[in-house]
């Protein structure tokens, strides 16, 4: 069976599948890739199921040594990828042979890269998922990030899948990671506790990503948005929910969010856009645009169609 040995782990490299679902009632969060689109593309490039386990690499800086033959693809943030010191393209698959050194430098654009391997990494599922949530010490490698010396087992596959032609996602179909984005938002939850003026301010202001931005949530700085209540009875929090604490600075909650909380929420950002937010770091500018839930559903269905109708091209 093939595997990779972790030579350098980078700052925060986590094994992630699509996420953990159905365990919120015992307090477990979702985990999984914060940029789901890049994650899905990485798996498709490796001809995997779309939820196969990949490595989510925050900021880059990882080096792996291959044991046995395999095929990899890296998507997401712009990181310099080399195999045995030779520069290789992102958003395409590459053959990897026994002893090859795979290196990812530091990201120049975007924050998170996804490294998929044909077959996916082999991880014992916890509560139905391999997703790593460090805070809960669950999933991945004993619930923790990758460390130098770890051996990452790869699920064995038919060699024909590894030997099949390499494929590439041509540039015009790739997502771009701009540092100035608009987050499409549905009003919801305690929206009635925000005055018309507060909502106007919220949708017409520019916010900056603060230093407090991680897989749990992104805290923003900007105009003070006030609710007419300070707190609520703790209730379930969905992905993308926008909490407004007493200081009026919004927090957009992501994959590792706490399952329940007591801050008022003005609504939620759609997942297609939290994926873009999660590629941004401190100082990036963002704003919010109001859409209806019907719009959100249309947008999701169209994005799904686009994903499935976009063909990968064969390359050498």
């Amino acid at each position: 069976m093939s595997s990779f040995i972790v030579q350098q782990a980078g700052m925060l490299s986590l094994l992630q599948d699509a996420g953990r679902f159905g365990a919120h009632h015992i307090g477990l969060t979702t985990g999984g890739p914060v940029d789901k689109l890049a994650f899905k593309w990485a798996n498709r490039l490796c001809s995997n199921e779309l939820d196969a386990t990949t490595i989510e690499i925050t900021l880059g800086g990882i080096e792996l040594i291959a044991q046995g033959k395999s095929k990899i693809a890296v998507t997401g943030a712009d990181v310099p990828l080399t195999i045995n010191g030779k520069m290789k393209a992102l958003w395409r698959s590459h053959y990897v042979n026994d002893g090859d050194v795979i290196n990812l430098g530091f990201a120049s654009k975007g924050m998170r890269a996804y490294l998929a391997v044909t077959g996916g990494f082999q991880v014992k599922a916890s509560f139905g998922s391999a997703a790593t949530v460090c805070r809960e010490k669950i999933g991945g490698l004993d619930g923790g990030k990758l460390n130098a010396g770890n051996v990452l087992a790869i699920t064995a596959v038919d060699p024909a899948r590894i030997n099949s032609s390499n494929v590439i996602l041509v540039e015009k179909h790739r997502p771009t990671y701009s540092t100035d984005i608009v987050l499409r938002t549905i009003l919801g939850y305690q929206q009635q506790n925000f005055s018309a003026l507060a909502k106007q301010l919220f949708f017409n202001s520019e916010f900056t990503v603060s230093e407090h931005c991680d897989r749990m949530g992104y805290r923003l700085n900007g105009e003070k948005i006030s609710a007419n209540i300070e707190g609520i009875l703790s209730e379930g929090i969905c992905a993308g929910a926008i909490q407004i604490p007493a200081d009026g600075q919004p927090i957009v909650l992501l994959n590792d969010r706490q399952t329940i909380g007591g801050y008022p929420k003005i609504g939620s950002v759609i997942a297609l856009d939290t994926a873009k937010l999660a590629q941004l770091g401190q100082g990036a500018k963002i704003s919010f645009a109001q859409i209806s839930i019907e719009d959100a559903h249309n947008i999701n269905h169209l994005a799904q169609c686009l994903f499935y109708n976009t063909q990968l091209q064969q390359c050498d």
Binding site: G22, I26, S268, I270
Partner: protein, 245 residues
Amino acid sequence: MKIEIAGENALILYFDDKASPEVAAKIYQAQQLIREYCAEVLIDLIPSYASILVIFDLFKCDHLYLKAKLQHCLNKLQVSNVMDGRLVELPAYYGIECAPDLAALAQRAELSIEEVITIHQRQEYRVYAIGFAPGFAYLGDVDDRIAAPRLATPRMKVPKGAIAIADKQTAVYPSISPGGWNLIGLCPTAMFNAEKEPTMPVSVGDRVKFCQINKSEFLALGGQLGDQLRDQLREQLNEKLSEQR
């Protein structure tokens, strides 16, 4: 009762604006109905004090379809059945060596330590919500006489199994974690075990009663007064002493 939009794939059902045993019983029933009637579109459920968040697959249905299904579930609720939910007994060792805040809580309440213990274990609590950490169950309501505000400075490390009070709620810490609740004892029952099925001894809507046990019973039930706990408490004591100096 109302149903609101939470996100692109989530609706939230509000049963009331405050928690009560009646509301907890309704939520207990409703979540079972939702699991049954909405199974094919359901991704996850989060029951809490007075609400249930329902996360659905937006590629299988829209919010209007789900809303109608949820309304159907609510119509089926049998409100008379307040005694729903299992009764779970949790052993509690209120030994002073593992209850660093018990004396202060008693003093503040102008009660003896024994009275605080009696009041705490006499009450039958409802599991109002589970969250904060895997297996952390919020139990209420604590008798007004022993309700106590959170510590001004939360502890960096609360031991696993710590029985605690904050305002009108009580809980058992499922694992070592930071926390600002008042610690009044230790429970030897594992509140979260990823290897076991079920993972937790309680779920939202259950009723919980603490039963006092002595030290040897606590140890016999697998409770630990290990070095770790002793070291932690010593550390905290030293901190206090150095503050006083």
